[in-house]
């Protein structure tokens, strides 16, 4: 079916004209200090910085590469997020990378959404967009569920493959050939029917940087906002968050580089002799 499977040369997926929805998340990054909200169910937002999830950057890049490889360039890349107003920033970054349109689910705001609730929000958009392919990141760096994309596939009743490190498809084909990355680096070559949801692993590509001009243009682009349905029960509810006990923890080797280096040399010598 494919002539270049496993080759190390330039990648050239040649999919039929296709529409791709990419699901992204504006993740929260915790710094050195932490305070919790009054109900202790989350970290105080003042202590969190926001960024586009690393896995999702790879997913957007992959969607753009597929679109650019189309013979007639007739594809479309739509990015979707479930998130509050701040998540708009993530969408703008995707637009600056080259996505065509952006939609935010969560007009009324989103708090502590579990993966099933998020998947329902994404499904409402994907159902009306009718994409040929949906790409998600494998997981988000702030909650590491690795669940949203596969839940979304179920809600859409389409095929899915999780932890994809390579995508190949052929013009006009109703299937794609993908590589799933198993533990220990073993690859599972899988043929998947389209439409499908693929969750994308980092390392699949080298994501591009947006140009200054593209960033400016993205800032002017309209972003559609729709409501998030929270009627159905979540997969879980956070009861409380806390800072883990350190146990014994690491013995500190001092606070100056020379002292630390001296102790490291000593320990290494002791352990290897």
């Amino acid at each position: 079916m494919l002539s270049h499977a496993g080759s190390a040369g330039p990648r050239a997926p040649r999919c039929r004209p296709l529409k791709t929805v990419v699901c992204v998340k504006q993740v929260a990054v915790l710094g050195d200090e932490v305070e919790f909200t009054e109900d202790e169910r989350d970290v105080d937002p003042d202590y969190l910085e926001r960024a586009l999830n690393e896995w999702d950057v790879s997913a957007v890049e992959e969607a753009l590469r597929i679109k650019e490889s189309l013979v007639d360039g007739d594809g479309e890349v739509v990015v979707v997020t479930v998130g509050d107003e701040e998540a708009t920033e993530a969408l703008r970054r995707c637009l600056a990378m080259g996505a065509d349109r952006a939609i935010r689910v969560g007009a009324q705001g989103v708090d502590d959404a579990d993966p099933l609730t998020v998947a329902r929000g994404l499904a409402s958009v994907a159902t009306s967009e009718k994409p040929d392919l949906v790409l998600c990141g494998v997981q988000s760096s702030d909650s590491v569920q690795a669940a949203t994309g596969v839940m979304l596939a179920e809600l859409l009743d389409v095929a899915r493959v999780a932890v994809v490190i390579k995508v190949e498809c052929e013009t006009g084909s109703r299937t794609a050939r993908v590589h799933r990355e198993l533990e220990g680096g073993l690859l599972d070559v899988v043929d998947v029917d389209l439409p499908a949801v693929l969750t994308i692993q980092t390392g699949i590509n080298e994501p591009r940087y947006a140009t200054l001009r593209a960033i400016k243009q993205a800032n002017l682009q309209e972003i559609e906002v729709v409501d998030l349905d929270r009627e159905q029960p979540p997969a879980y509810r956070v009861r409380r968050m806390y800072v883990p006990e350190r146990g014994e923890g690491a013995e500190l080797l001092g606070d100056d580089a020379a002292g630390v280096a001296g102790r490291i040399a000593e320990i290494v010598k002791g352990r290897l002799s």
Binding site: V34, Q145, A146, A159, V189, E206, R239, R246, I267
Partner: protein, 313 residues
């Protein structure tokens, strides 16, 4: 509803270690503990999961020899319907990620992944997992009255051993034609270096900042008599080959000394190195998760330490 259903994992005809860990974890969950193995011909694999603490081995005939996510989804849904378990436990692994969330979404079950602890409080499953780069832990409550699907973090529980003399149940499940089909496996390329054989690993991560700094740590490793290994971001950036990657998607290592520079300690990385004899971590973030497994830590600039080490060797 009653009992716990463990879903065994296997690849190329071998039971994966995580299954033995799941059996250990299940000892703190409702009995009976049933372990299901799903395969085209599950008989020999079923023998290998008759471990101590297993009450019932369920040999499920479905699909082919290797994992296909639609087959596993159909089989596990059939098992849930037949056994009505309180809790379903699986490994937090690439295979489970491919179908367990779909089962939970379809049947409206409770779901939590990367779980490293749990309790049952008046019938409600409470799972412990981490958020925000593992700097914060959380207790999450799963809904009562429906089975709870838990994907357990590998390498947290010990591996179950022995033989339990479990009863044996056979189940044949008619599954749909899979929409995602296994074609073949591709083994990781053979490398010029075997980091799993080294006594001393000097390991670098995202904290080294720039590709140009790789050479410097390569040199330092040579001087110190260490083998250079890396965390996933270094491989993703294309700076080093995957043969040197430590972690779940790379190699699991157990050197006498593991010296980490600029590695914050993603869960998948820690799983691949926490069994090392002595772990020394240098990182400017005092809250970095790697300090949770390290024996010694230096909260100082890694380049300054590298400079000082070069003088000493």
């Amino acid at each position: 509803m009653s009992g716990t259903l463990v879903v065994a994992e296997h690849v190329e005809g071998r039971l994966r270690d995580v299954t033995r860990e799941l059996v250990t974890a299940a000892q703190d969950l409702p009995r009976p503990v049933a372990v299901a193995v799903i395969a085209g011909n599950p008989a020999s694999l079923a023998d290998s999961i008759d471990l101590e603490g297993v009450d019932d081995v369920v040999a499920v005939t479905a699909g082919g020899d290797e994992f296909e996510n639609d087959v596993y989804q159909d089989a596990v849904e059939a098992l849930i319907a037949a056994r009505q378990p309180d809790v379903v436990v699986l490994g937090f692994t690439v295979n489970s990620m491919g179908f367990a969330p779909a089962v939970a979404a379809k049947l409206g079950l409770g779901f939590a992944s990367d779980v490293f602890g749990f309790s049952i409080e008046s019938g409600q499953v409470v799972a412990r997992r981490s958020f925000y780069g593992a700097k914060v832990h959380a207790e999450v409550e799963l809904p009562s009255g429906v089975p709870a699907v838990l994907l357990l973090r590998p390498t947290v529980w010990a591996q179950a051993e022995g033989s339990g003399g479990a009863s044996r149940t056979e189940l044949a499940v008619e599954t749909r034609t899979p929409r995602a089909r296994h074609v073949r496996f591709v083994e990781a390329p053979v490398a010029d270096v075997d980091i799993t054989a080294a006594d001393f690993l000097l390991s670098i991560g995202r904290g080294i900042g720039d590709k140009e700094n790789i050479e410097r740590f390569q040199r330092l490793a040579e001087k110190m008599g260490a083998t250079l290994s890396v965390s996933r971001p270094i491989v993703d950036s294309g700076w080093m080959p995957s043969a040197r990657q430590v972690g779940q998607s790379g190699k699991t290592v157990k050197p006498k000394v593991y010296l980490a520079f600029g590695i914050s300690g993603a869960v998948q990385h820690l799983a691949g190195m926490k069994a090392s004899g002595t772990i020394i971590a240098v990182n400017t973030d005092p809250e970095a998760a790697i300090f949770g497994v390290a024996h010694y830590g230096g909260v100082v600039d890694l380049f300054d330490v590298a400079d000082e080490l070069e003088k000493l060797y």
